[in-house]
Structure formats: C-alpha cells, structure tokens
C-alpha cells in the first residue's frame, strides 16, 4: 500500500472540505428553491379558492341581465327599436359568458391532459380577421381601433390546429382590448419567417412591469386583484394561450410596447399529423417489450 505523508493527508482533507462546502452551498440553494416553490403552490391554492368564489358573480351577473332583458321583450314591454337594442345587449352578455365558459372548459381539458390536436391547413388571415370581427363590438365599446398588419399578404396557410390557434388569438386579443387605454389602438401583426408563423398583438395600455411579466401566464393570476380589481375574467386566458402554444410546437413571449403598453408575440412551428421528428432507427436497435405474452 502507498504511504501517505502529512502533506498528502492535508491536501486530501482540504479537497474534501472544499467538496463539502460546495455540497452545503448546493443544498442551501435547493432549499431556497423549495421554499419559493412551496410559497408559489400555496398562492396557487388560495387563487383557486378565490376563483371558485368569484365565478359565481362572473356567471350570475350576465345571466341575470340576459334574463331581465329578454323578459322585457317576452312581456311585450319593448317596441321594435327597443327590442333590437335589447337583442344587441343580450348578444354582448352572452358573448362574454360564452367566452369565459369556453376558457374554463379549455383550462379543465388542458389540466386533464385530454386535449388532442386535429391538424389542418389553416388560412391564417381569415382566422385572424374572423377574430377581429368577433371582438369588434368589445373594441368599439372602448373606442379602441383594431389594426391588422400582414406584410406577406392574405395568402398565408399554415399546418396547425385551427381551434387551438383561434383560442390563442381570441384570448390575446380579448386581453389586449381589455387593457388598452380608451380611444387607442391594438395592432395584430402576422408574418412568416423561416417556416414559422409569428403573430404579435400589441396594445397601448399601462404595460406590465418587467418583474410581473412571467407571472401573467400563471393560472388565476390577475395583476390587479381584490377591491381594486377593475377587469373582468378569471386570469385563465393567458395561461391557456401559453399551454396551447407550447402544445403547438411554439413559444410565447411578452415585451414592452414602444412608448407604452405591451406586446405578446407567439411563434409557431408547423404541426405534423403523425410523426413530429425524423425517426430513423439507431443501429437497428428495435426492442419489443412483452410482445405476445401478457405484459
């Protein structure tokens, strides 16, 4: 056996102490991370119970006004002009309710892992224009103008799930209109680059502080909460948009708009119906587990 002198022993001791110091450091970082995650989960749980208590109002209020308004027509208390006006109001209330319910169902499906794509060749310009038309009344209520910019012209077709893409655009658009200052502009830009589809939706609202930008994609999170809460909704829209974009082989980011407001930009890769990657077999390695016999 090799003889060990004092110097070697000291050296070894030093090395081990150093390793120990690093391990303790790592442990400390991990503990801090754990504490942060723990806090976040606690918050998420409390937001979930807030959601359950808020949902009552968010669903009851529009339903009550729909019933009240239609009752006037049923009771023949409204002439033709008033009836037309009522029909408009009922439509808007029903539109909001439908939008919110769809979001709740979408979040539930995503959380259950039950969303499956049906990929098709999508006419992107038509899809975006449809959404702009659908949200037109919301924008005009706030005197917000919606601008559609598409330098590549109207011929963009893209292989993706049309329903998912529509949901993402609808949520980003609804969010932009909700937070845009009155009388200002929301801009939707669509362009293709290196085979990817990019959509950017910019508003001219108060903007979002850099520190809060990651938080807005968490579920049930709305930056103004409690008694100060001025905006409708449950804080589900952006979390749904992010989850769907990620399932569509894409990413979504949030930046400040020049001057004021913010820009949500998503970038999607085309989806394939069957195999998303090149599946060449590595050196003929093919295994069959439990074929024929029971498991």
């Amino acid at each position: 056996m090799e003889k060990i002198d004092d110097e070697m022993l000291l050296e070894e001791l030093k090395k081990r102490l150093e390793e120990n110091r690093i391990a303790v450091g790592n442990l400390r970082t991990m503990t801090q991370n754990l504490e942060a995650v723990n806090e976040k989960l606690r918050q998420s749980e409390s937001l979930k119970s807030d959601f359950l208590s808020n949902i009552r109002n968010e669903i009851n209020n529009p339903l009550a006004s729909i019933m009240g308004l239609t009752k006037q027509v049923v009771d023949k208390k409204a002439d033709a002009d008033r009836a037309r006006e009522i029909a408009g109001m009922v439509y808007h209330e029903a539109f909001d309710l439908d939008f919110q319910l769809r979001n709740i169902f979408a979040a539930a499906e995503l959380e259950a892992g039950e969303t499956t794509p049906s990929v098709a060749l999508v006419d992107v310009a038509a899809l975006v224009r449809n959404q702009i038309a659908a949200f037109g009344h919301k924008a005009s209520e706030k005197r917000v103008s919606l601008e559609y910019v598409c330098p590549d012209g109207d011929g963009i077709t893209f292989k993706t799930d049309p329903e998912w893409l529509q949901k993402v655009v609808a949520n980003l658009l609804a969010n932009a209109i909700e937070f845009c200052h009155e009388g200002r502009k929301v801009t939707l830009r669509v362009w293709q680059e290196k085979g990817r589809l990019n959509i950017a939706i910019a508003d001219e609202g108060p903007g979002i502080a850099e520190a809060d930008r990651k938080k807005v994609f968490d579920r049930f999170v709305q930056l103004d909460t409690g008694v100060r809460k001025r905006h409708k909704g449950h804080g589900l829209g952006l979390s749904i948009a992010k989850a769907l974009v990620e399932m569509m082989n894409g990413s979504i980011s949030l930046a400040g708009n020049e001057g004021n407001g913010c820009v949500f930009t998503m970038s999607l890769a085309e989806m394939e119906t069957g195999q998303p990657v090149d599946v060449t077999s590595g050196d003929g390695n093919e295994f069959i587990f439990g074929d024929g016999t029971k498991f």
Partner: protein, 163 residues
Amino acid sequence: MLYHPDENSHYLLAGSLFVHEERHFVTTVLGSCVSVCLWDCVRSRGGINHYMLPFWNGEGLASPKYGNIAITKLIEKLQQLGSEKRNLRAKVFGGGIVLNVTNPFMNIGERNIQLAEDMLHSENIPIIGADTGGKFGRKLIFNTESGSVFLKKLTKQIDDIRL
C-alpha cells in the same frame, strides 16, 4: 401482429395522456421526457402519459406536462374506468440525458425517471419493464389492450428532439 395501420391509433403529444377501454396503438416520441405506461392485467386495458418535467412548480396550468400530475391523473383515469390499483402494472420509458447540461445534479431526464420510480413505488404499482436513460431519443408504440410496447431508439440527438 403488433401494429396494424388500420386500427385505432393515437399520437400522444407531450403534456397529455391517453386512456381507452378499447385497443388503441398509442405512438409517442421521447427525449428527456418520460412516459409511464400503466396496464390493468385483469381488464386488459391501459393508458399512457408523456411528461416533460418532474414537478409542477405553480407556473402556468397544473397540467400533465409535469410528472407528479401526469402519474396521479393516469392512475385516477384508469380507476374511473373501473380498474383497481392492485391490478396495475407499469412500464417506464425515456428520460434520456440532455447533452450540454450545466449542472449534472439537475439532469431533467434522470429526475423524470427518478420521479416515476418513486411515485410508482409509493403507489405500490410494480414496474415490470423499463428502458430509460442513455444519450438518445425513443419512439414507442403502446398497445393499450395487451400492454405490449414496441420501442425504437433514435439516432437523433435529444437536444434536437425537444420532447
């Protein structure tokens, strides 16, 4: 024959799961992600998940993109279809090593595998087959009726697969 193209087939995306009473051939492609296949040996039916990260940390939606949610949900779904936990058997795949990791203690693939082993152990579900780790991706086809799995190792580097 293991797979016939005319039969019910399903492509499983990362972050989702699939359970069915009838025979389906479920295809998925894994890099550092892990799939747990659960199969009921009495009722001859099964399900599969595909998760990307071990734990949900409160960010985004609490979806089966995260292992702790994906495994719990998969067990629950099979139970909803009438399966009993004691009849469930598991196979675990994926968890390849992502190249260029900065911290070897934080390797996602390994942590994904570890989570599957720990959770299945605490649920008392035996793991009767596994092919995990390594520096390559995997494509697998799971037969929900027989529980058999056809696995192909991919030459493509995991960094490129992003699953």
